[in-house]
């Protein structure tokens, strides 16, 4: 009878507690190990799951309210984009290659993250953790859907967008991102959190989304800016979850430190290799560029990653093992990968091109120590071959790294004129690697990586090496979706339509 009619509203911390931890219960019909069978085998020791709190203290009721608001904002702009010939407002149709790679390689990763977090939310015993993972699972599903939806408008007008699901499963460059997510999803729940929550979200998404979305704005692509920023508004929460997960493991038991450090070493390098694609998109595929890959790395890699590892040093964490090799690769990777994409452009479901003189001047200003010395002469040679009517095409198949699945186009950390190549023999079979980082990862878990599906061997094992049959199988239409941008249907259409839009002829 003492209850007051109007109760004081709960504070954020009490509300969070009431709507997360208080929803949990002690099981009585089943024992805990049967309910959470995967939480111990990785060796991570946890003494008190209640110590895991979401520092944003977001509860499900607030979550739905804000996510609904984000969706309303998103669809208002997507509708306007479709109604206002948004496909003609981009700077240049070359820009679309970056979007095609995004749709074929990254958006399916969002869906994979959705599945992974749905699973992690079920496998962790802590209620705070379960709720945070559940929110992230829904976020990632939303990301996959909004990205596919936003880019579907371009599919009505341009090539290379029509079969992203086949590309995701079968084409070669997409398997870089796919193998990253498959590797994470087939790991235990704690390793999954380091792989996606920490490495991908905290260390990498800034490099992927922030300069790239700002770049989309610069290139007149409102649809992409919108899905990018809408997705990114969830990422602050995802990054925080990843960082909290690391701190939680390190605070729970000192025995967790070596396990966590080994995962940081592994997943930093795995993630850094995925960034090979991103560096090329930033330096070569945006007709108007906001910043170079090198500049983005300075801000989000060196400065932000440096701050993070300095902060974690109090637990005994050191920067990842591949950190120095990564720094040595920064001024080379985008150029080496674009040269690779250009020579194998018969097998890409997007266009590549020889950079213009103006683009090359920009590249040499941004990469004063490397571009003119190592890469401009190669482009100049390729340009001469094209002018002579004998364009440089490489119909040989690339040697892929058994771990990251990139073709081995990268050079030795200390010698940019020598291709980096490592080998391991395991159970009588030889395996190839692009770097020490990838070889170390394999050597730690060979039984996992010998099962990798690699696209080049698949061309022979599944299709007898028939490239035409392979193109049908990956839904790549030869002459439309692939090859040089110069002379492509995308180029022709864009110029015609742009002409119609800006004149009355």
């Amino acid at each position: 009878m003492d209850m007051k009619a109007t109760k004081k509203k709960l504070g954020m911390k009490e509300r969070y507690r009431a709507l997360t931890r208080d929803l949990g219960w002690e099981s009585s019909y089943q024992d805990k190990d049967a309910i959470f069978p995967y939480v111990n085998y990785e060796g991570i020791k946890v003494h008190d799951w209640d110590k895991w709190e979401d520092p944003f203290r977001l509860t499900m009721d607030a979550y739905w309210k804000y996510q609904a608001e984000k969706e309303r904002k998103f669809y208002a702009i997507i509708d306007a984009h479709a109604q206002n010939n948004g496909h003609l407002n981009i700077t240049d149709a070359r820009y679309l290659s970056a979007l095609k790679i995004f749709l074929q390689a990254i958006s399916p990763g969002e869906y994979a993250a959705h599945k992974g977090f749905a699973r992690a939310g079920r496998e962790f015993p802590g209620v705070g953790t379960q709720v945070a993972c559940q929110m992230q699972a829904i976020d990632e599903l939303r990301h996959a859907q909004t990205q596919i939806h936003a880019m579907s408008n371009y599919n009505r007008y341009y090539d290379g967008f029509h079969a992203f699901a086949d590309a995701r499963d079968r084409i070669w460059y997409t398997s870089v991102a796919r193998s990253f997510f498959d590797d994470a999803m087939s790991a235990g729940p704690f390793e999954f959190m380091i792989a996606i929550g920490f490495s991908f979200e905290y260390v990498l998404t800034n490099l992927l989304f922030v300069p790239f979305m700002s770049g989309a704005a610069y290139n007149g692509d409102m649809a992409t800016v919108t899905f990018g920023f809408s997705a990114q508004s969830d990422e602050a929460r995802h990054m925080t979850l990843g960082l909290e997960c690391i701190k939680f493991m390190l605070e729970q038991d000192p025995d967790n430190l070596p396990i966590v450090q080994a995962w940081i070493d592994k997943w930093f390098w795995r993630g850094f290799r995925v960034l090979g694609l991103v560096s090329t998109m930033m330096d070569y595929m945006l007709p108007k560029r906001v910043m170079s890959w090198r500049e983005a790395w300075e801000i989000y890699g060196v400065e932000n990653g440096g701050a993070l590892f300095k902060d974690l040093a109090r637990y005994g964490i050191r920067p990842p093992k591949g950190w120095d090799d990564a720094e040595k690769a920064i001024d080379h990777m985008s150029h080496q990968f674009m040269l690779g994409l250009y020579q194998w452009s018969f097998g890409t479901s997007f266009h590549s091109w020889i950079p213009s003189d103006e683009d090359m001047d920009w590249l040499s200003a941004k990469y004063p120590d490397t571009f003119d010395k190592y890469y401009r002469p190669r482009w100049a040679h390729i340009k001469k071959l094209k002018a002579a009517g004998t364009p440089f095409k490489n119909y040989g198949l690339a040697r892929l790294c058994q771990c990251c699945q990139l073709p081995s186009v990268f050079t030795e950390p200390d010698d940019p004129t020598l291709t980096c190549h490592r080998e391991t023999v395991y159970k009588g079979e030889k395996y190839q690697f692009c770097s020490d980082g990838c070889k170390d990862i394999f050597d730690n878990e060979p039984e996992k990586y010998i099962q990798s599906w690699l696209p080049m061997p698949a061309l022979f094992s599944e299709l007898g090496g028939d490239v035409g049959a392979w193109m049908n199988w990956v839904s790549l239409r030869d002459g439309d979706d692939n090859g040089d941008y110069d002379g492509s249907t995308d180029q022709k259409h864009f110029n015609e339509w742009r002409g119609l839009a800006t004149s009355n002829l």
Partner: protein, 89 residues
């Protein structure tokens, strides 16, 4: 010293919020980039509900920040009055 940061979409909702952050963090540097604003500060940044309410002229729930947030860096702590970002360096 390490840099903490927060990036927000550049739009009408965030203009007064950015002003409020600048008022509460004299050491912060505001970088305006295409479609976004990134605010850097040495080691520590605080966002206060009260200061935002003075700028927007209405009651404000700090969790509304979620809608226009792009990214951040640092250890997060949030309650109904403040959101802080901190690096231990």
């Amino acid at each position: 010293m390490s840099t903490v940061f927060i990036a927000l979409q550049a739009n009408e909702d965030t203009r007064p919020i950015i002003d409020a952050i600048a008022l509460d963090n004299p050491a912060a540097v505001i970088n305006r980039q295409p479609a976004m604003v990134k605010i850097d500060a040495p080691d520590h940044l605080v966002i206060r509900r009260e200061t935002i309410e003075e700028q927007v002229g209405r009651p404000y729930d700090l969790q509304e920040l979620q809608i226009n947030l792009i990214t951040l860096s640092g250890n997060v702590d949030e309650d109904e009055d403040t959101l802080t970002l901190t690096w231990n360096s």
